[in-house]
Homo-oligomer: 203 residues x 3
């Protein structure tokens, strides 16, 4: 599957998400977290900042150095429309807030998934941007250079590569490795009933 | 107190719960967690998946083997109307979702209390079922046999026996040992004022 | 700055909080948690019990002995109107509930910030009182004497002195040491635009 085909598949999935729990189906299709080669569901500590803001897009990754925000800004500078930012870093500090949200919305970025925390939650709520994070704190990282972008990243024990399909809803986040998306996503979309809450197989 | 009398008491308590914080009164009546012989309040990590869905019922327990869902289905097969499922298992995996919710509603089960996680939260919300759990994740346990039902279970450090009275509201969950329900619950119900938010003694 | 001047500054800040994320600006002004001499943002585990209830006021502190509520009642007995109670104690027990909320409202106390848990959440919600805590549980501390009031307190690793300015919103809580308030708060208030969600500098 070419990159534009994968992006088109992410777009189609993004439109199918509202009112469903498709991250659960994707987790089932991936094989219950057995994969040793990347992808899977992030653990329960990763929660949506606000509910009912599902998203699907291809990962742009940022690995901050210590508590420095440089890698986040660098990732924002190269993130294409429809992408999802995946950001490492410690849970003690906020790596996302109003300024980054406005920049992301300006570029058409769909969501931010953070190992760290978020802040400016009133502004993020008003702006309508999807954030999944490990917590909320007023304490921000520092505006310094450092860190790396578009590198493989371990987030909550799940390995994420740039270009992987990252999908989030009120259940959390699932990372579908790029090379497995063609096998999993079209089959899921074909099986979708039009109604909400289709009968699920597990649990 | 016979089993039918205890079930009738649970029903009466269930109807009295909305708009109050009766789990707090029950925790006080049990004696502030001092009991060494079962029961008490579950710790703060056990949270209602959705607010304003209080419940009271007699425990049917399921102790999954590892991450296998067999015990959950087995407990659903024998749970009577008005009961509350109490399910062990690790917090890393979802042991409850849309399928189990539909099965529980079909049997008249009132709630599920899980040491593990829940998923399919949009569907569970739409279906209106009460779930208390330790987290949310798309990653489900496996559909395999194994585990045990109607065994004593330690949930969050609290010992639960089948048939114990399990009560939940927005404050969390309290387990009232079956042999103490006759001493505690009728006195609580008699003391209830008709208004919301009666003056509380502690804290 | 005299105590009445500091209280007037807290009042002015309190009125400016709604719809903004000013705890984030205050955390930035304090210098990103570097201070070794008290104050700073509480870590992500401290969450508002209900959203959209921001507050600012001068700290009255209570350090419970073990799980005993005596220090909380003693602090309530001396807390002036416009103050914020800051209460230590273990996260396993509730040190705040309906009774303390009613007493606090009767004195004009603005909020309670707890290292421990809260309970009676339906009543606290109906009464409209601001609580920031580390969790919720029906299990209360005991109504016994003991503990200390108006002592320095470490809450979530942040040192709080009686009379410090304590500010909370949906992002969490920031403690501004009393001696730094005159340097930080008037400058923040002067810089406020009248609109919601001003452009933020970090992140």
């Amino acid at each position: 599957m070419t990159d534009p085909e994968l992006a088109a598949l992410a777009d189609e999935l993004h439109r199918a998400l509202p009112g469903r729990d498709l991250t659960c189906d994707l987790s089932d299709a991936l094989g219950h977290g057995e994969s040793q080669d990347g992808g899977g569901a992030l653990p329960p500590g990763f929660r949506p900042l606000h509910s009912r803001r599902p998203f699907a897009g291809l990962a742009v990754t940022a690995s901050p150095q210590d508590t420095e925000l440089g890698a986040v800004y660098a990732a924002l500078d190269l993130a294409p429309a429809g992408s999802v930012l995946v950001i490492g870093g410690p849970a003690t500090h906020a790596f996302w807030g109003e300024r980054t949200t406005r920049a992301a919305l300006g570029r058409g970025v769909r969501a931010a998934v953070l190992a760290g925390a978020c802040r400016d939650v009133s502004a993020v709520h008003h702006l309508g941007f999807a954030v999944v994070c490990s917590g909320v704190t007023p304490l921000a990282g520092r505006r310094r250079e450092g860190g790396a972008v578009q590198v493989p990243l371990a987030v909550g024990g799940v390995l994420v590569y740039p270009g992987d399909l990252v999908v989030g809803d009120d259940n959390g986040v699932v990372v579908v490795p790029a090379r497995r998306a063609a096998e999993i996503v079209p089959a899921l979309l074909r099986a979708l009933p039009s109604a909400l809450s289709p009968d699920r197989s597990t649990p």
